[in-house]
């Protein structure tokens, strides 16, 4: 069965650089979520999209932005990277706005040096 695809799997950037993370949801899933998991931490909700519109926003820095495109894939753009942005970034997708749970991708590990 198709899963949630995230790219790249690993990314190394320098401070103040920009990074773009991509997420391809399971076919026919209309909702995408982004989570950030710092080292040894639980995942924290960043932002979600339903039918290409932002549906909810969590503790996402102003330096980050995201969108969901017409083919339902989503991109998380991160600018002016800081060392503290080093984390595992998960994308998840669902139908029904997440009422029945989500399927998570394998994550993108971002390291800022």
């Amino acid at each position: 069965a198709a899963g949630v695809i995230q790219s790249p799997r690993h990314l190394i950037k320098e401070k103040r650089e920009t990074a773009t993370l991509k997420c391809y949801p399971i076919p026919r899933h209309d909702t995408v979520y982004w989570y950030q998991q710092g080292p040894g931490q639980d995942p924290q909700f960043l932002i979600s999209f339903y039918e290409k519109m932002q549906s909810d926003k969590g503790s996402i820095p102003d330096r980050f932005s995201a969108q969901q495109f017409s083919d339902y894939h989503s991109e998380l753009n991160m600018s002016s990277l800081e060392l503290g942005d080093s984390a595992l970034y998960f994308c998840a997708s669902s139908t029904g706005q997440g009422a029945y749970g989500y399927t998570f991708g394998s994550g993108t590990r971002l390291t800022v040096v």
């Binding site: 995942p43 909700f45 969590g58 029945y100 749970g101 989500y102 998570f104």
Partner: protein
């Protein structure tokens, strides 16, 4: 606002022993409850979920959990663990008031020793 408390940060057990990972939640509305497992350097895999109906939920890999509304708990159990069950386990809650976004507990590291 919803919150999740996983009462044990680490649980060491011997192989073939039973295990219970504890999870308590707080929410002002009806909730949906989940357990996810994360193996080292891996993503989050859904073990099981409670949406409605029977309070005893069976999941993958022989795990089960029981929803107890009066005690606001959703403890995860397995009667006999294997070395391969060593992983981080996250309890999570979502509800209609939060647009179904998941709030996770801090995680419990289950270590199965031979």
């Amino acid at each position: 606002a919803q919150s999740v408390t996983q009462l044990d940060s680490q649980v060491p057990v011997f192989e073939e022993a039973p295990v219970e990972l504890r999870c308590n939640y707080s929410s002002s509305v009806s909730v949906y409850l989940f357990w996810y497992v994360q193996y080292p350097n891996q993503g989050l895999q859904l073990l099981l979920k409670y949406l409605s109906g029977s309070t005893l939920v069976k999941g993958i890999n022989g795990f089960e959990a029981e929803f107890n509304k009066s005690q606001t708990s959703f403890h995860l159990r397995k009667p006999s663990v294997h070395i391969s069950d060593t992983a981080e386990y996250f309890c999570a809650v979502s509800d209609t008031g939060s647009n179904y976004k998941l709030t996770f507990g801090k995680g419990t590291l289950l270590t199965v020793n031979p």
